[in-house]
Symmetry: C2
Subunit: 236 residues, 2 copies
């Protein structure tokens, strides 16, 4: 079974939702048969690269709140993170363009290190005061995730690499009806939107599991002898 998770490192509910999904998965009887793939979704693709703001002033400005109100809003997110068992330093993260992180996550997938990199990026964004909007820092974390430093640096330096893969994920999210993240898709048949409680993820996994023997629509007809089976290949 396959679960695709559209998310953005900049999204606190993605950080929380990913942890709740993992808790829900842990309680699922067939967890060893579940493959998890991370997909790209930029919360704000219009942010120019290099423009970084602290989260609380950004929230205040964006929603016309006082700094105190923005701080309270952040505190509610932090409380949800803490309740989920996650580290979260209130107000410590910044906000910027995440396209390069998404490209790097696609490179990591190709190297079999996607899960590691996504986990490290989320944890560092929300529970470490150092900014991720910095190629040197990003590269350190890529190495921590098991990626080759030179290869990861080459990916970061060339904006065209994995750019199509990021865009393709975003087009797919739109086609699947996602308008926000986190967005979880199970076997392309069931969807869960948002950082739901762990039990909802377990339930979704169980529903998808029960529905997982689809009747495939057969295309074409095998010419005689074009298949090999347990008793050997047909002799045409």
């Amino acid at each position: 079974m396959r679960v695709e998770i559209w998310s953005d490192v900049a999204c606190p509910w993605c950080y929380i939702g990913k942890a709740r999904f993992e808790q829900g998965l842990e309680a699922f009887a067939h967890k060893d048969d579940v493959e998890v793939v991370f997909r790209s979704f930029e919360l704000d693709p219009s942010l120019p690269k290099g423009t970084v703001s602290d989260v609380i002033p950004m929230l205040a400005k964006k929603y016309g709140m006082s700094l105190e109100q923005a701080h309270q809003a952040e505190a509610r997110v932090a409380a949800n993170a803490h309740d989920t068992g996650l580290d979260y330093i209130l107000g410590a993260h910044d906000v910027g363009n995440t396209f390069d992180m998404h490209r790097l996550i696609h490179f990591a997938a190709e190297q079999g290190r996607q899960k590691e990199l996504v986990g490290i990026l989320f944890a560092n964004h929300f529970a470490d005061e150092r900014s991720l909007f910095d190629d040197t820092r990003l590269l350190e974390l890529a190495v921590e995730a098991g990626l080759d430093k030179d290869e990861a640096a080459a990916v970061l330096a060339d904006e065209t690499r994995y750019a199509d893969a990021v865009r393709a994920d975003e087009r797919e999210a739109a086609m699947l009806g996602a308008t926000g993240v986190p967005f979880f898709v199970l076997d392309r048949k069931f969807g869960v939107s948002g950082g739901q409680p762990a039990e909802v993820f377990t339930q979704a996994l169980e529903e998808a599991w029960a529905a997982r023997t689809p009747a495939l629509k057969v295309v074409g007809e095998a010419p005689e002898g074009a298949v090999c089976g347990p008793d050997g290949c047909e002799i045409p």
Copy 2:
């Protein structure tokens, strides 16, 4: 879009079918949006490791044919391979237990080298007289596919590694109704069985593409504020 291909290196129609699928994919307008994953299916899991037979005597014995008839059957497979543009040395390959190759293919997937390894194994099994049922040779080919030699050797040496992944693929094949290989599954909605002509694969890709915006069944309801969207995260 995602295509899963259940196959076995020991299966000549898998070698031919893979090439025809690739030709069909080449003619498909959205080929860049297609992800291909190889899945395990052992033609004969009962063969003990270390027992290897030449193909023509094996065919003769299995089907109660003369060696001449077995040679003719092999010749028909070879002719199909040649017509598909593939190298194929008539009667040169041997037959044995492929479990270790499947485990190695799963390791390669984790390293982002699955496509390379599968292509190299098929080409060498059917168009090179050296046997693949030999850890030294298998390791050479793993390195040729871009895998680390020591890591690949460690996988081959430990029969438990990726064994569950191979078994899980085989259970899924059974659940999807596959009794022989190659077996192609598009987005878990369309199936193609056998080494069909390239046009059948193009047609299947087109049908799957047209059907690729599924209505997801929504599980759970997002609590207010558990989603981040293009305008930022909801403030609960």
